[in-house]
Subunit: 207 residues, 2 copies
């Protein structure tokens, strides 16, 4: 019953895909490998052949999720040439992509808990967060935002977007929620602008 190389690659893809749906529906702990492989018409032996353990299977799933979301963010942000608009569009793309059922829980809830915050963050730095930080860096180089601490700002905004995503998922009944959330993003950006204006001496600081 040994399969060829391409068939094995297909098996891996299938396992990741099915695991993703099970993790989405039952969470990491609630998703038994047995029921995952059953759907794939395999046994747990197949999983332990292709992945070191359950956690590594989850990591592969998360990797796929992150890549999907980041791709959407990058594509949609590129629709504008204005750096502010790019940031806005990117944030919007992120929350609308991440809010989807098949992304949300794996990416924002189980991800940090299963892999640990550091490993989760390390993965994120290769995807959405890299884009966000890159954008802020560009804006800073262009002088449209002042000499603020990039890392702190990136994490602040990233965390805000993550929680906003989960809130949006919860508020899915209210269509106005997305606009409200984006308004909050706007406030943050306004703060940037004002700080940039201060740095260039347009207005003086308030008390």
């Amino acid at each position: 019953m040994r399969r060829s190389k391409e068939e094995a690659a297909e098996t891996i893809r299938q396992l990741i895909d099915i695991a993703r749906s099970h993790f989405t529906e039952h969470g990491y702990a609630g998703a038994a490998l047995e029921s995952i492989v059953h759907e794939a018409k395999l046994t747990r032996g197949a999983v332990y052949h292709h992945f070191r353990n359950k956690k590594e299977l989850f990591r592969s799933v998360l990797e796929a999720v992150q890549k999907e979301v980041a791709d959407r963010v990058e594509r949609e942000a590129a629709a504008s040439e204005d750096v502010w608009q790019q940031l806005y569009l990117g944030c919007r793309a992120f929350v609308t992509a991440a809010v989807e059922e098949r992304n949300k829980r794996i990416m924002l809830i189980d991800g940090p808990a299963i892999l640990g915050w550091e490993a989760w963050r390390a993965m994120d730095e290769n995807h959405s967060m890299r884009l966000l930080r890159g954008q802020l860096e560009t804006m800073q180089r262009q002088g449209v935002i002042g000499p603020a601490p990039l890392d702190a700002m990136t994490h602040f905004l990233s965390g805000a977007l993550n929680e906003t995503t989960l809130w949006l998922a919860h508020e899915s009944a209210r269509t106005a929620a997305l606009e409200e959330a984006m308004e909050a993003v706007g406030f943050f950006m306004e703060g940037f602008k004002r700080q940039a204006e201060r740095a260039t001496g347009k207005i003086e600081p308030a008390g």
Copy 2:
């Protein structure tokens, strides 16, 4: 070997306390009830008498953590009479309290994963988040921030503070990190101010 009521209450406190340290050190999944009760010189029977299951024990631990953190936030925010300063102090108190080892993981990582985001949020609404939302509401009523969507802003800022906390924990070597993080909070507040000024017609919106 039956204990009196006060002794039983002491048992519960002790279990929560020891469980908290085990959850902190090994995470929820990695903390075996057996090793928790062993430290308390009890058996798992004691746990299942006082708590429905492991998750309920965790919920009790989280409740204690939330209460501690929220109390500190409330106390430190009350040190000022200026609403902006109160918000700033509250945010600062939150991150410095939440960043502590015995709070961080339980509150920000395992909490949502074990109880689910909704239950976790529901608990949070009775603690730190209630304070945050209340403060924003006060500021809005006083007109120092404009007619912005309160819930969206609250979640945005709350999520930002949570991630900032985890980032700070990771950056614990750099003492400047806290100030950088608070600077990011400041940007957000600047956005509020500007938006409030716009609403009251002090300056006109930019493109």
